[in-house]
Symmetry: C2
Subunit: 163 residues, 2 copies
């Protein structure tokens, strides 16, 4: 894919690119691992499975969610949502009521306990990311964010041409 016309004697630009590629790969791997550790840590701290935590965090603005909506937001199969919700109901964090307009639909809402837990969780998440930002000087912060911005869209672009 590289070295299109210069296969035997890679010039210094190629060498640099190769080095940077390896570095990028390693960095992304380490960042991924860090994020994963964070997630399992929160899961243990709250004593709630990761998928259920992720679900809990969806109740930001909306008072009620539907299984279908949750399925789309979490990007999992509907059947998975049934399981997640039943776990949260068992822990008395959410409750499900029948939609008065459509008997097929069940509206999932937070219980008071669930509301407290959910707020706690999102506060913790925000704190974590804020502390991350505070590791940088104010001028750097903008740069880091725009860097990630570009990285994300580049990843998207690469993903699409990947197929």
């Amino acid at each position: 894919m590289l070295h299109t016309m210069n296969d035997q004697r890679p010039d210094s630009a190629d060498v640099l690119l190769g080095y940077q590629t390896r570095r990028l790969q390693d960095l992304i791997e380490e960042i991924l691992r860090c994020c994963k550790e964070r997630t399992t840590h929160l899961s243990k701290k709250f004593d709630i499975p990761e998928a259920e935590l992720r679900c809990l965090m969806l109740f930001g603005e909306q008072r009620y969610l539907t299984a279908k909506g949750i399925s789309q937001s979490l990007d999992v199969a509907k059947s998975r949502v049934t399981k997640i919700i039943s776990g949260l109901i068992h822990k008395n964090l959410v409750e499900s009521i029948d939609d008065p307009k459509d008997a097929r639909i069940k509206l999932i809402g937070l219980t008071p306990v669930g509301q407290r837990r959910s707020k706690e969780l999102s506060a913790l998440m925000t704190d974590l990311h804020q502390e991350l930002l505070l590791e940088f000087e104010p001028e750097q912060r903008k740069m880091v964010i725009s860097c990630l911005e570009v990285l994300r869209s580049s990843m998207e672009a690469v993903k699409n041409q990947m197929v």
Copy 2:
């Protein structure tokens, strides 16, 4: 945690920090999702479970690995490794031979097929990351990498003070 002395009237710096925090959180989430999609895509493409792929990629330099070493590299329990290896053996990608020096140890090595698969895989990974880099101008690349570098160490720092 914020607003230590100015709780009622957050100044513009606080507003900015709040905005940046949310942005950072969203960006990281999207990047994570992108990486996850990449992993499942490769898993389907190779028709090999993700954990086994991850294991396959460990055979970079080393001719042989041990279950314990794999367990440490992948950061999973020993018993998990047994499962992963048995999957790879079934697919004829690795084979296990007895260590001549220590009968407790089994040396795990790639079969010829496994070698080919492993090379294919790491070439694909490299390609992917190289394409990612090529999305940037040469001058930008250095910056992106150093940005991630700082981000990674900041994450590490935050993780450690998290406990």
